[in-house]
């Protein structure tokens, strides 16, 4: 079947706190246990309970890497979800809803945004000539060819209650599961992988498993019986595979990378969307070590310190790094703002420090739970004055893991802060992947003066590469001093103009050394047809959507290349320039307002990337809206000024 057909987009929505996440999680695992691969994306408000959240799970028999606008099956158990998402369902798709809610008027969706409500009212009344109820939404969907399936949640629960002797009130949390079971039935997907998923998620809780399994069976049967006639165009079929797979999120991938890298102290202050990474680490404070077979399992300590603020987080991590630990902090824009002064301190003192920065919608508090790539320029220049830093951006979960290791190696090798750029889209993306391999992984602790001799050791000794052998606090013979002031080779304060020049140049040279040493493969990726006339340039999380769009366009006869820049600083300007010059038309795709990478490239290479496709509504770039935008662009002439900046606006 064509690439397009093998992918199914399942979408579930509901009020925050009503179980949307766990439903999606279980559905995704059910697919995975059936040998399929999934890519899940989560959208939610900065709110604990009541506001609308949704989860999109894309399923296919091959690896997927991006969310999409159109859904094949929409799953709901509240009214707001139907109102907000029904129009996303593709013409032959399906929609699961609670028939009890059919009369619910638009105004009863109390938590809905005013703008959305107004636009829905306009759609229903002015465009469709219907009234403002959920029933009308269903009607309109049906008119478009969408198959709508009323699922009587309450009755099914009652049946379950009766059958198992449980109180109905305590079964409320099962509703979301009924929706999952109903989906499987409609998609003609077998029940067995779903039951396995349940068993895995609730491992150890036999009673819960039993109850939930029964709920699934009941619903599955009910749906199979009730909607035998009405068929969904899309099916989901298990695939035989003996590939090992894990299912995890971006924050978990980064956390695993840190653990593999030997990170032994992470200091953080809670902030969305970075917190999950620290929570994962905190839950794994006892790190398993390889031990010879037969011997008792050994463990190491990973200290996760919740500090009083982000300033304390970065400075505590720096203190730990000085003591010799691989230390990191993890944060998002507002927290990073508070870290800039200490970033400079780590820079001038040549401290190996790792900062994982999860970008989110800015400025200020902005859109705390939405995505954006708005901080690139900020991280490049954060901190007053000039000092070396490395900035690496991951584009998918596998890169998240390996880059999390890489940044520690660089931090220690170049003795300077390294920023690992991530974003909310990556952090909350769920994906099936082959288990990470440590086979090829090597840890590089950089130049160390293990045998420094007292009185002679100079921490900032002059060297060609700019790098001086390092000692750590407490080490015999390697005493040093640090100061945020300009310093001499021993680390004591100096204001001597010549020593100052030398130290500025020494630090700057480390960056040149890094630029020379780091292999090109870690600096950027080139995908697609390298000789294509049109080149897409991007960085970070849009990677998945771009790769999918490339496939779609290829299927339609358009050949493009895609340059994914990974090392943003020091930017591999010369290599990029050579590649960029080969293309006739260059298009930057970025999840921000101004096209920050495009600006950086122009600054560093002189090449103006004439066409920008940007998105800044807090939602990730969706592969289908991107391919549409690209097609439209390709239909214009390269110099056409009306197409210089295309703004993507999809997403709910």
């Amino acid at each position: 079947m064509p690439a397009e057909q093998s992918r199914l987009t399942w979408l579930i929505g509901g009020a925050q706190g009503s179980g949307v996440d766990s439903a999606a999680n279980i559905f995704a695992r059910a697919c995975a246990f059936g040998g399929l691969q999934v890519y899940a994306q989560r959208e939610y408000y900065s709110n604990i309970m009541g506001k609308h959240s949704y989860y999109q799970v894309a399923v296919a028999d091959r690896a997927l890497g991006a969310p999409r606008d159109q859904a094949d099956l929409l799953v709901s158990f509240d009214a707001e979800t139907v109102f907000l998402h029904a129009r996303q369902v593709c013409a032959s798709g399906g929609l699961i809803y609670d028939p009890k809610l059919a009369e619910t008027p638009l105004e009863r969706a109390a938590a809905m945004e005013e703008r959305a409500r107004t636009s829905l009212a306009h759609y229903l009344v002015d465009e469709q000539g219907l009234d403002e109820t959920l029933g009308s939404m269903i009607q309109a969907a049906q008119a478009r060819g969408v198959h709508c399936f009323p699922i009587p949640y309450r009755e099914l629960l009652q049946k379950l209650a009766d059958e198992t002797g449980t109180a109905l009130s305590s079964l409320k949390r099962v509703i979301n599961l009924l929706a999952v079971a109903a989906s499987c039935a409609l998609l003609q997907y077998p029940l067995e992988p779903l039951l396995r998923a349940l068993a895995a998620v609730f491992a150890g809780k036999a009673k819960v498993i039993k109850l939930n399994s029964r709920a699934c069976e009941l619903t599955y049967q009910y749906v199979a019986d009730s909607f035998a006639g009405e068929k969904l165009a899309r099916h989901l079929e298990p695939v035989e595979t003996d590939q090992l797979r894990i299912y995890l999120t971006g924050t978990e991938a980064v956390a695993l990378g840190k653990i593999a890298a030997g990170c032994s102290l992470q200091a953080y202050y809670p902030i969305s969307p970075a917190t999950d990474e620290s929570s994962y680490l905190d839950a794994h404070a006892l790190v398993p070590l390889k031990s010879p077979p037969g011997e008792p399992a050994k463990q190491a300590a990973l200290i996760v310190l919740q500090t009083e603020d982000e300033i304390a987080a970065i400075t505590a991590a720096t203190g730990a790094a000085l003591a010799g630990a691989r230390a990191a902090t993890s944060t998002s824009g507002p927290g990073f703002c508070l870290m800039t002064e200490a970033l400079g301190w780590a820079g001038i003192n040549e401290v190996p420090l790792v900062i994982s920065l999860y970008q989110r919608g800015g400025p200020s508090t902005g859109l705390p739970t939405r995505t954006e790539q708005g901080d690139l320029r900020f991280v490049l220049h954060a901190g007053h004055g000039e000092f070396p830093r490395l900035v690496l951006a991951s584009g998918d979960l596998s890169e998240c893991f390996h880059d999390a290791i890489r940044v520690f190696n660089w931090a220690e090798r170049y003795q300077t802060p390294v920023i690992h750029l991530l974003d909310k889209a990556l952090s909350s993306a769920g994906q099936t992947l082959p288990p990470f391999e440590l086979e090829g992984v090597r840890l590089d602790r950089g130049l160390r003066a293990y045998e420094a001799s007292e009185g002679e050791y100079r921490r900032f000794a002059w060297s060609e590469s700019g790098i001086s052998p390092r000692t750590v606090l407490g080490q015999a013979g390697g005493m040093f001093w640090n100061t945020g002031d300009e310093h001499d080779e021993t680390g004591h304060i100096t204001e001597d103009p010549l020593v100052r020049d030398q130290m500025m140049e020494k630090r700057a040279r480390k960056l040149q050394t890094a630029a020379q040493e780091i292999p090109e493969a870690e600096k950027f990726n080139l995908f697609g047809d390298p000789d294509a006339e049109t080149m897409i340039v991007s960085w970070g999380s849009p990677k998945g959507a771009i790769l999918e769009a490339l496939e779609v366009l290829k299927a339609e006869g358009h050949s493009l290349s895609f340059l994914q820049v990974r090392l943003l600083w020091p930017l591999p300007a010369r290599a990029l320039e050579a590649l960029l010059r080969r293309a006739k038309r260059r298009i930057a795709v970025e999840n921000n307002y101004s096209g920050q990478l495009a600006g950086l490239i122009r600054e560093q290479t002189g090449i103006k990337i004439e066409q920008l496709i940007v998105k800044y509504n807090g939602r990730p770039i969706l592969s289908d809206e991107l391919s549409e935008a690209l097609k439209a662009l390709l239909a214009t002439k390269p110099g056409d000024s009306s197409s210089q900046k295309v703004v993507l606006t999809h997403g709910i």
Partner: protein, 324 residues
């Protein structure tokens, strides 16, 4: 092995003003260290920014001169990573209780085994004499255009609220006593806070050495100066708080603490105000979860074999995520 004072001195030119109280504090720290029998290389001193912040450069031990107000979190990170380091933090009153007040509270709550010495001169020395957070309301030191419109914060009261478990106050020009206090602070298990009254002859023309010494109020009979600074110990004050004490006894001690720490002006007590033995240290709390914490410290952990292969075994973690 016994250490000498000179083992803890660097050759860096000391650039404080003549008559600055910092000299006394520096000597006291060096002498306390020399007496502790800990090798200089196992000691790390952290400082904030200010005249006081330069202290680290004058002490021969690992010296980390950090950022304004951030000395405690830097020190915290290092101590957490290597609990076997002897960690001392020093800094000015502006540094610690102005811009750094939030960290002062945070560190007190943790009760990590570190010692914090606060140089209290009532002014921002290095930026030329603005009021520091400890300067009392209405005081007008040399550098101010008007009397201080803020109430001065009492460092020892704040330390109590924050949760430090050893609280003392010393005087920069009573070096022998200060040496003892610092030593006691370092030997205490948990977070120790030592406020040092530090004359700044250049900018604080009110709380001078003469003023602390009471030169302005000679005894009418003997004509001798009557120092304002007096020893708490001499009054029979008992600073010990133990788990055995009743709620009433505890309240009595706290009441005394508040009364004594609020004395200022005519009589200013120095000495140990509180030793709280009723709680655990942060290190102990970590060790409950990670029993080998102080033996295999995070800082010294071996993370790779000689070929650079990670020592970590990811498989149990990957197994948790398995979907096949």
């Amino acid at each position: 092995m016994a250490y000498k004072l000179s083992d803890f001195k660097t050759e860096v030119h000391v650039d404080w003003c003549p008559g600055c109280g910092d000299y006394g504090i520096l000597s006291s720290i060096q002498m306390a260290l020399a007496g502790l029998n800990v090798p200089p290389q196992r000691t790390a001193i952290f400082s904030g920014i200010g005249c006081s912040g330069k202290t680290t450069h004058y002490v021969k031990a690992y010296g980390v001169h950090t950022l304004h107000g951030r000395v405690l979190p830097y020190a915290t990170g290092a101590k957490l990573a290597n609990p076997n380091l002897l960690v001392i933090a020093v800094g000015g009153d502006g540094d610690g209780l102005g811009i750094g007040a939030g960290h002062f509270i945070g560190a007190g709550r943790r009760n990590l085994d570190i010692t914090y010495v606060l140089f209290n001169n009532g002014v921002y020395g290095l930026t030329k004499g603005q009021a520091s957070p400890t300067l009392k309301l209405g005081m007008q030191t040399k550098g101010l255009s008007q009397p201080n419109p803020n109430e001065g914060v009492n460092p020892l009261m704040l330390a109590l609220a924050a949760g430090y478990t050893f609280m003392a106050r010393g005087y920069a020009f009573n070096v022998p006593e200060l040496v003892k206090l610092i030593r006691q602070g370092v030997e205490h298990h948990g977070s120790s806070f030592i406020e040092v009254l530090q004359p700044c002859p250049t900018y604080n023309n009110l709380n001078t050495r003469d003023w602390y010494g009471g030169l302005d109020r000679p005894d009418p009979e003997t004509g001798r100066a009557q120092p304002r600074v007096y020893s708490l110990a001499d009054t029979g004050y008992d600073p010990l708080l133990t788990p055995e004490m009743s709620e009433e006894q505890t309240h009595e001690l706290l009441g005394r603490y508040v009364a004594r720490t609020s004395e200022w002006g005519e009589r200013i007590p120095v000495g140990v105000f509180l030793i709280n033995r009723t709680t655990s240290t942060y290190e102990e709390r970590i060790s409950r979860r990670i029993p080998f914490y102080t033996q295999q410290t995070p800082a010294e952990r071996v993370i790779a074999d000689e070929a650079g292969r990670p020592t970590v075994d990811l498989s149990p973690l990957l197994a948790e995520l398995r979907v096949s």
